[in-house]
Symmetry: C2
Subunit: 385 residues, 2 copies
Amino acid sequence: MTNSVDTLLIPGPIILSGAVQKALDVPSLGHTSPEFVSIFQRVLKNTRTVFKSDAASKSQPFVLAGSGTLGWDVFASNFALSKAPNKKVLVVSTGTFSDRFADCLRSYGAEVDVVEPLKIGEAVPLELIAEKLSQNNYGALTVTHVDTSTAVLSDVKAISQVIKQKSPETFFVVDGVCSVGCEEFEFDEWGMDFALTASQKAVGAPAGLSIFVCSSRFMDYTLNDSVNGQVHGYFSSLRRWTPIMQDYEAGRGAYFATPPVQLINSLDVALKEVLEEGLSKRWDSHREMSDWFKDSLVNDLKLTSVAKYPSNMSAHGLTAVYVADPPSVIAFLKSHGIVIAGGIHKVIGPKYIRIGHMGVTACDKNLPYMKNCFNLIKLALQRKK
Amino acid sequence: MTNSVDTLLIPGPIILSGAVQKALDVPSLGHTSPEFVSIFQRVLKNTRTVFKSDAASKSQPFVLAGSGTLGWDVFASNFALSKAPNKKVLVVSTGTFSDRFADCLRSYGAEVDVVEPLKIGEAVPLELIAEKLSQNNYGALTVTHVDTSTAVLSDVKAISQVIKQKSPETFFVVDGVCSVGCEEFEFDEWGMDFALTASQKAVGAPAGLSIFVCSSRFMDYTLNDSVNGQVHGYFSSLRRWTPIMQDYEAGRGAYFATPPVQLINSLDVALKEVLEEGLSKRWDSHREMSDWFKDSLVNDLKLTSVAKYPSNMSAHGLTAVYVADPPSVIAFLKSHGIVIAGGIHKVIGPKYIRIGHMGVTACDKNLPYMKNCFNLIKLALQRKK
């Protein structure tokens, strides 16, 4: 791998800050050494903070070696392989990643209903969700806060209120893979029971870590002998991991499987950077960059956003826009050293491009990446005329 | 994390070579970019070579974000959640990690028989294994090549011959976590169906990757609709990952879950170093270092090895020896900047210490780590007299 790499503007993995990247280049530490325990302890505490969950709520943070996808498995297996009778899940789908979560749930035997928006690029109307919750008894509801395939932002706060009114016993599960660290996110306040992200997204760390938080209510469920007396599965079992995470957070080493010490050291630096900047300020930075970029594409270049824009259904960590010939735009940018992504939606996949703007790309105002990206998209489109 | 860290002589994570550590400090790459595809392609090809499996055998290598433990889940879930009728597994146990693999298998519903050695520290007699295979119809047999809890080395080649004679249809599963890269290991020649390791052991890479190879026979089983028509599980599903790994090995990007690009870049350098040295030479280097260290402890210091020594039941990547007061020895070494591990066996756990000597520690003859370690153990024991 050379050091003269392209500017990576896909919706994850994202460009790392210099300090985060440098934090990978450290010798291996013993996984139960006092030095590593203190790093992992801080990571778990800061994970709570970034998810906006207070230790007093008795929620439980987890950081495991794996991909974001593993978080789906953890919820799906601990929920659906339990002895609890209600395995019915309502999936609020705004794109490919919501549908994949549904697929994961089904693979563990959950009975899945999917509710979709009226039109691709919109969020699912709250009334549809309310109606479903009134008609059925769901054990869980999942929503993908930002579906990375469409850049649709769902109103998690509003959905939490609908659940509270219509079906308060339903577990509220939020896929925050493209949102934690760049969108307003309130684990405790919005009554989430399980929320997940991946390290290579808006928390600004390298890929390779699955990060999630469980509410005390979901922990009671999953650790309850009458519900989960027989442990199902192993690497994704919350019963196996809970004492490990509790020990590390309390400052004691513990072992179930070896943690990736360099990745966790890098995540430690990333989370510190997020919290030093301040969560609200970071959300604002992403919003400002996103608004500028989307305004430029939509108003100056007359492009159409996949996620309705302007609206409150539009993500702030990435942009998806229709262009006439996506491969040529992607290739033109690549030839100028900028990597963006194509569409991946089952219906509209070949018709649009996706540009990620999470982490330093959005927060460090001195970086010219997004301006350069816009100029190159403009050039690419002019060339086609 | 400071740079003046202790010398890490636990049986994994191990000390990285300078180049392997440095290979972590690279910018994020797009996971389907040509640059990353070429790295991952080489990693998969070299994984085959390190496991001694030829592409012509139609085996399939996998490298996933996760811990070594995840490899157990992959075998256990794909084997035991299938529709195939025979879920009976014979676990050849030589310590804690063999027992944990048994636990993992049970958690997916496998019916597990465990066969143990006559005495802790020995391998399981081949006659016992043969007897079990004659009396029962096992779908799979698992053996932990080196059990990291006891440093017992099992004779995988001899076990493979017993299987071939007594029960050739039984899947042969080898946990090579403390052996691939430091012990003679022949995936194809010894008729393995599933073998796994973890990145932070003798292949010399950072923790965070689960590495395993499946035989064509096991691939046929797991991809067979009548056996596995309904996909079970998600992140550990071979059905999901197989097309991804096949695409990367063929030089095409593919996506199921985001690979940890920096870790894979580092593993790439580690595997190249292993193969540049040459596998046979590397096995010899580990054997030489191990013999010297064990001879010194057993002959000079009159210590007793947990795994019978000298014998062919003794591992070459780590040493486990009984000492009168393990915590004081461990603390004395730590106070002199060397980190070793305690025992973790259910019966003899508190009575011994474990020292890892995998990777550069064994192969780079200029490094003084093992000599220093021996001298400090000697000093620690003299102080106690």
